[in-house]
Symmetry: C2
Subunit: 518 residues, 2 copies
């Protein structure tokens, strides 16, 4: 695999630099043991300490305040991975290329890969043996029509095998998921308490937002703790049939997290990668029945019904191969769901729906009820078509709110008053420049504005959307309000809105039509 010359030749140091998902090792130019030039630029080195090995990109420094000539520095993530204390003896070696690189090259050259190839590649990716450059090459080489559906199945299966697989010891473990791209679409926080109140097991683990202004975990974190050890999570699910937690600690499909670190900056979200990413996470999390939401619209991830149907078939094929029961629903993705965009704003919307509050956004309520209804119908005691009414009864009766309060209490409640949510105190409003009807809301641009305002890291930041598709406005009326907590963020967001407000006004007949179930 690689070569070491002198065991434990240097002294380990933690360098307090956050290099994100890329491990970086810092070597002094006048290193006592290794000549920095001996290591190829941009190739990885293998760092060894106490029997542990990690791969890292080498950076060379001449500043002894970063590392001294007898030391090897590791960036924060890399330091955590090597798992020994500062001062521990450490050695480095030239890292050989990952053994799956040959398979990667075959894929770049357009070959079809087999099950073992995907296993080898995914194993190397999960072990952080791929550089950003190699990851990017894999993502592009498997983009478009480059993966057939059998290959997508191999990839998904390999991703499941790369990490932990939870077992809830239940006959039916349900989940719902959306392919993303629609701001404010926090239906999980309503679907989970509804179906759990009915008695279904729904251990929801979510990611944090990566390029969106809020993920379910970010929004739930406004109301409760979302990071907890797996044992505690498991205990909560046993007691309450559900949780709404961050999935990052459970080591589910770890290769997915690594791949996302390059897919997102590239804005690549090919069907094969999307299917592998979503299904591997869900199956690793122990689900056996999934309702999947595919929104379509002019600024959604999927823009046409034929495209949505093609994606549905791929999801269904791979789910079937992996023994997952899957129910795909194609939904209206022409605009954001609900009113708030950003963690606190979305938590407010969710709580208003649960409380049957007069200001609760009706689109969020309706969509959540329909998704919950579909999920409920996997219960063999519920007749097809009855799910919606049962979900509505659970919500209207307050049982969903009660269940949500149980989950919040169990996870560790945080103070939150939906009547007085702690929104970013700095605001500005975007108003209509003319009379007209709202004929378009750009999901992507609206998400960017909320992100510039500070969401999701600044919980109270985001966009409060006061007008939706089809509504008439007069010139000067407020379309949406932006909340921020820092002057720089407010300025960034204002500049973004002045370039493109994300809202188009026109005549009623210019509204994009959509032909979906709900």
């Amino acid at each position: 695999m690689s070569r070491v010359i002198a065991a434990d030749a240097l002294v380990l140091r933690r360098v307090a630099i956050d290099t994100y998902k890329e491990n970086v090792a810092y070597l002094h130019r006048e290193c006592d043991v290794y000549r920095a030039e001996g290591f190829q630029a941009l190739s990885k080195v293998e760092v060894r300490a106490n029997g542990r090995r990690i791969l890292a990109t080498l950076n060379v420094t001449s500043d002894p305040r970063i590392v001294q000539p007898h030391e090897l520095g590791l960036s924060m993530d890399a330091f955590a991975q090597i798992g020994v204390e500062p001062g521990h003896p450490v050695s480095i070696a030239q890292a050989e290329p990952p053994s799956s690189i040959h398979a990667l090259h075959r894929k770049i050259h357009g070959e079809r890969l087999g099950r073992e190839d995907f296993q080898a590649i995914v194993r190397d990716i999960a072990a952080h043996r791929y550089s950003k450059i190699e990851l990017s090459a894999f993502v592009v080489a498997t983009h478009r029509g480059e993966l057939d559906r059998e290959e997508v199945y191999f990839l998904t299966d390999a991703m499941i095998a790369s990490g932990r697989r939870l077992d809830w010891h239940e006959r039916l473990v349900v989940d719902k998921h959306c392919i993303g791209g629609i701001p404010g679409n926090r239906t999980s926080m309503l679907v989970v308490p509804i179906v759990a109140a009915h008695g279904l097991v729904c251990p929801k683990t979510s990611s944090r937002a990566i390029t969106s202004p809020a993920g379910t975990a970010d929004t739930m974190e406004v109301l409760a703790q979302v990071e907890m050890p797996f044992d505690q999570l498991s205990e909560i699910v046993r007691s309450h049939r559900a949780c709404l937690a961050w999935g990052g600690t459970a080591d589910l499909s770890p290769a997915d997290d690594v791949l996302i670190s390059v897919e997102r900056p590239l804005s690549l979200d090919s069907p094969g990668q999307m299917v592998a990413s979503i299904l591997s996470k869900k199956i690793a999390a122990g689900s056996n029945h999934l309702v999947l939401d595919i929104p379509i619209g002019p600024t959604a991830k999927v823009r046409s019904m034929p495209e949505a149907q093609k994606l549905r078939r791929l999801f269904e094929y791979v789910a079937h191969r992996l023994g997952l029961s899957l129910d795909v629903v194609i939904t209206d993705g022409r605009q954001p769901i609900g009113q708030g965009i950003g963690p606190v704003l979305e938590a407010r919307d969710v709580m208003r729906v649960l409380q049957n509050h007069p200001l609760a956004p009706q689109d969020l309520r309706q969509k959540s009820l329909r998704l919950a209804g579909r999920l409920l119908e996997c219960d063999p005691d519920i007749r097809g078509g009855d799910g919606y009414a049962i979900a509505r009864d659970i919500l209207d009766s307050g049982r969903a709110l009660e269940k949500m309060r149980d989950i919040i209490q169990a996870q560790g409640a945080k103070p939150f008053d939906p009547e007085r949510p702690e929104l970013g105190a700095m605001t500005f409003e975007v108003t209509a420049e003319r009379d007209g009807v709202v004929t378009g809301i750009d999901n992507f641009q609206m998400a960017r504005i909320a992100q510039f305002a500070g969401a999701p890291k600044v919980k109270g930041a985001g966009v409060d959307l006061l007008r939706k598709l089809g509504e008439s406005v007069k010139a000067g009326e407020v379309l949406y309000r932006v909340h921020a907590s820092f002057p720089a963020d407010l300025a960034f967001a204002r500049q973004a809105t002045s370039r493109d407000s994300a809202i188009r006004l026109g005549e009623p007949d210019e509204m994009p039509s959509v032909f979906v179930e709900f």
Copy 2:
């Protein structure tokens, strides 16, 4: 393009970390002005000072010895690019994705791109606006059959336009180039003095080795200075008709250097990218007649004659579109050329050939004479077929040596005695394990052994190859000697040879045959 909130809000600091070609900016987690979280992980930031702007990847630190909360740090390369002193006021902004990203996405999706698309992409690449991830995506998306020959022409033309284009004010400016992959292949250092002695203008600018154990610039640097301002280079060429310099300072096809920084770690060298890389550099350097060497062999870059012919046609098409006269020669690439591999060892071989020394490697002499002959034949006064004899006369008469001495003097001679070259003092020998005939020498593995030994950074390190294809050896006889200057390097090289010595022994009829002109 991007947004700034407060002009000159931070104080610039140089962080003495070499991050290779990737610009890195360091921000303290408790920064006074910007919230580090406000910047998306892995997206670039734009750094502005004194009207200059550069893009950089953001790393966040909590160590005030790296940067303090009121400072912004830049890695060494990035600091050099911004071009102001430490302590200068500086601001940062979210960088928008490069404007050509849309064209990149179209290429990833398999579309054919037009001239303007390539211009936009190459402009952004040359300006360091692409991240490593985006560069890698471009390289993979333009790999294989993904570029038609018209697109290769567009790419080459855009790469020429991305930098400076030299004009020597001469009717005929000649050059030779090899596509690479053959260790020891230092023919340029012989061809240049031969053709210059004849009177042709040959301003040879070369790169340093990136993944090979020595480039022409590394080897020439043993004998003379190779880094000089363009004015001095120009003066040398005016006086002596030739130079042998490093091309890095002349800003020729700068996008090529950036692309190479990801192509090399990926070991991708697709025909389209190779043609664009080589021809853009040559045309930017002002050449109008080029002899191109394509070696073929089992461990060469090109492995078969049909592949070599296909590559030749692509080179010829693009050269023709760009008005470059091109003469492609396909050569024997079954093994290293000459005896030494590594800068000092190769300089010794070159000087021995020039001196008509009895130990001069005959394969290096013959190949250089044939290439020089082909180049001489672009002189309208030389009849086709006479070039070789003229080149031989120039070499045998000592005129080539004299010309080389002139060039060395003009560039700034370094002390060098070919009878006592300063080789790495630590050595070991690799011997034959059995009686037999040398039936294979793996170019790639031989290069790696020389690199592990320290070449090209350690000038005296490398491999002295004592046996070549077809020679008979007895068990225990020395096949090659490895030179190193540092114990770690010697150990790395020894481990590499024990895994794979790069030399195969067998029966005479097992030798790979080759059908090439020379």
